[in-house]
Amino acid sequence: MTDNHQDILQSIGSGDKYGFSYPDDSIFTSRKGLDEEVVRQISAYKEEPEWMLEFRLNAFRHFSKRPIPTWGADLSGLNLEEIIYYARPRQIDQKSWEDVPENIKNTFDRLGLPEAEQKYLAGVGAQYDSEMVYHNIQESLEKQGVIFLSIENGLKQHPDLFREHFASVVPFSDNTFAALNSAVWSGGSFVYVPKGVHVDLPLQAYFRLNMANIGQFERSLIIADEGAQVHYVEGCTAPLYRTESFHSGVIEIVVKKGARVRYTTIQNWSTNVYNLVTQRAVVEEDGTMEWVDANLGSKVTMKYPACFLKGPGAHGEVLSVAFAGPGQHQDAGAKMIHFAPNTSSKITSKSISRGNGRSSYRGLVRVASAAENSRSNVVCDALLLDHESRSDTYPTMDIKAKDVQIGHEATVSKIGEEQLFYLNSRGLSDEEATTMVVSGFIEPLVKELPMEYAVEMNKLIQIQMTGSVG
């Protein structure tokens, strides 16, 4: 393997990787299935420049030649012919509140969400009015020179900045689903934080309702210029109920010299969804990238946030939690590619499996020969709540440099009888006791979340655990 930037970038995905999806407000809905015509329609509908159409078409041609990966979770249930690749979310459904499954409604109730918000989240209500809040925040961001737009508006209003960075972190050839996303992407965010600007409040925390609008093939691009700092939160702890069952997005982040970006995801897809996500950051000299990632729902999730540590002293972190319940497979992990000297990375992966749920940690740490004096530490902890559940780890280490420090620790534990008895003896039922042990297990992640998400995350765990103890 040669130490060449582009090769390495591509090789990050050599096993394949994944993305995920956001909103769109178009009126146009494409027909089922995908061909060049559909790709052209999408681009025309969005009134895109020629280069973007070319990009989409090249991506489509690449996608057509690539197989669906078989090395990870079972994707045989995914029927790509049956998917509508472009649609206005609220129009495709035309469903009513009555059609929303009871368990989803119950979860809304238990989260204490107001009815309007519930309907909006379920995709059956009228537009929930978050416009006002948006405007106020937008104003204060603008004063700092921060750009925070939908990805479509980013392309229209900042064409040069956009083109310079778009697909620079995740080329369409990266993996099958990145290629698919590149062909049909729609929705997502475009963020630019100018040199030295620190955005104090987490972006998107205010727009959590908009997240209910997540499209199938969302694509986001975040650029933190030199010395800039930003925390982007993409999350919705309410279950995202969708009739369509496939989400495949791409998140690209550019962390310039001395900049710092944190990207937090909390997702609770309904359990029919294939959630295949490609998240990657390029980190330049002395920059820091942190992925904080919680995956609770979906049928299958494949997601391995990656950091390409390109500049000396760059630092990357992934802190993730996956919860695999009955019928779910969470195949999650992280990739750290050390390309420059004195780079460091840290992966903390926690998984919880119950009721025959399956979680896997799949990770890669690669230290190129140029990356002398680098450090990496990987810790994966799996918690199994019963005998039917399963957890595996697939760690890969590829170390080419000298003088590196690499640590790897993996533990699998079951909730101990003695822990349960201790909590029982203080008056907690089996369910309360188990929930408490689980909450404690994910505490290292929860404490990194903004307050409102932390509270909801804990409630969500309680809901997930309801009825989990026979």
């Binding site: 009888e417 008895f421 909590l423 003896s425 203080r426 008056g427 408490m436 505490e443």
Partner: protein
């Protein structure tokens, strides 16, 4: 007057009889000390009363005010007012002592009164602080993860803090004195005295006189071979401290099959 009665109890652990014909009645407000050689079944008795699933009761009964509690799960027994301060408390990483205690208190209160809405965070904090004051604990301690990295003595003190907050009717202290330094022993013992004061029936399991210097027992029992062989007043503990168990062995002979000391 509420009482906890252990009647003709026989208990198997891994098919081995550890408790054989154990009898004891503890009334609310009484302090009983239970002493006896290592491996004689003291912790087994404590776990059995609390309802640990590993211990199999072959005959006998445990009753509160004449009502058997053997059909109850450990949490239901806790709701009835039984508390066990563990000889070896387990740690629960990521769960703070304060958070844990609030959940436990609410669970108990709700079991007693289904309409209970739960204690407010502010009120709970006050309650917790007053109990920590009683045991001379640093408030910081409440935000530590439950027993995680606690020193031996800290664990024991935290057990008594839990007892102070949960206000049980019957408390079993399984070697709470071991691991406590000299000052901590006094502080914790005085704390137990203050809490017990006629309200709690206490069973102090211990090997030494040291805790009994502060917590004066109304009764002292010697357990040997899975049952109580001698009962007396506080002096009995002093006699053990002086003479050890040799005279017990001489008097009651070699332990029955399968039981060792």
């Amino acid at each position: 007057m509420t009482e906890l009665e252990i009647r003709n109890l026989h208990v198997l652990v891994n098919d081995k009889e550890i408790i054989r014909d154990f009898n004891l009645t503890i009334r609310q407000g009484e302090i009983h000390a239970l002493m006896g050689p290592n491996g004689t079944g003291k912790s087994t008795l404590a776990y059995t009363i609390m309802g640990h699933p590993r211990y199999q009761i072959t005959s006998g009964d445990v009753l509160i005010d004449g009502e058997s509690i053997l059909g109850l799960t450990p949490d239901e027994r806790a709701h009835k007012g039984i508390f066990l301060a563990f000889q070896y408390p387990v740690s629960i990483p990521g769960v703070s002592l304060a958070n844990f205690l609030r959940v436990a208190l609410n669970a108990r209160n709700k079991a007693v009164n289904p309409d209970d809405k739960g204690i407010s965070v502010v009120k709970f904090r006050q309650l917790l602080k007053s109990k920590m004051d009683l045991l001379k604990m640093d408030y910081q301690f409440a935000s530590r993860y439950l027993n995680e990295g606690f020193s031996g003595g800290e664990k024991k003190r935290a057990e008594i803090l839990q007892m102070a907050v949960l206000e049980p009717r019957f408390a079993i202290l399984d070697e709470t004195d071991s691991g406590l330094d000299i000052d901590a022993l006094r502080i914790v013992s005085e704390g137990v005295n203050t809490l017990a004061q006629g309200h709690i029936g206490v069973l102090v399991i211990t090997h030494y006189q040291r805790m009994l210097n502060y917590i004066t027992p109304d009764f002292v029992h010697i357990m040997y071979g899975g049952r109580i062989v001698e009962s007396g007043k506080a002096e009995l503990a002093l006699r053990l401290e002086e003479q050890g168990y040799e005279w017990i062995r001489e008097k009651y002979g070699v332990l029955p099959d399968g039981i060792h000391d």
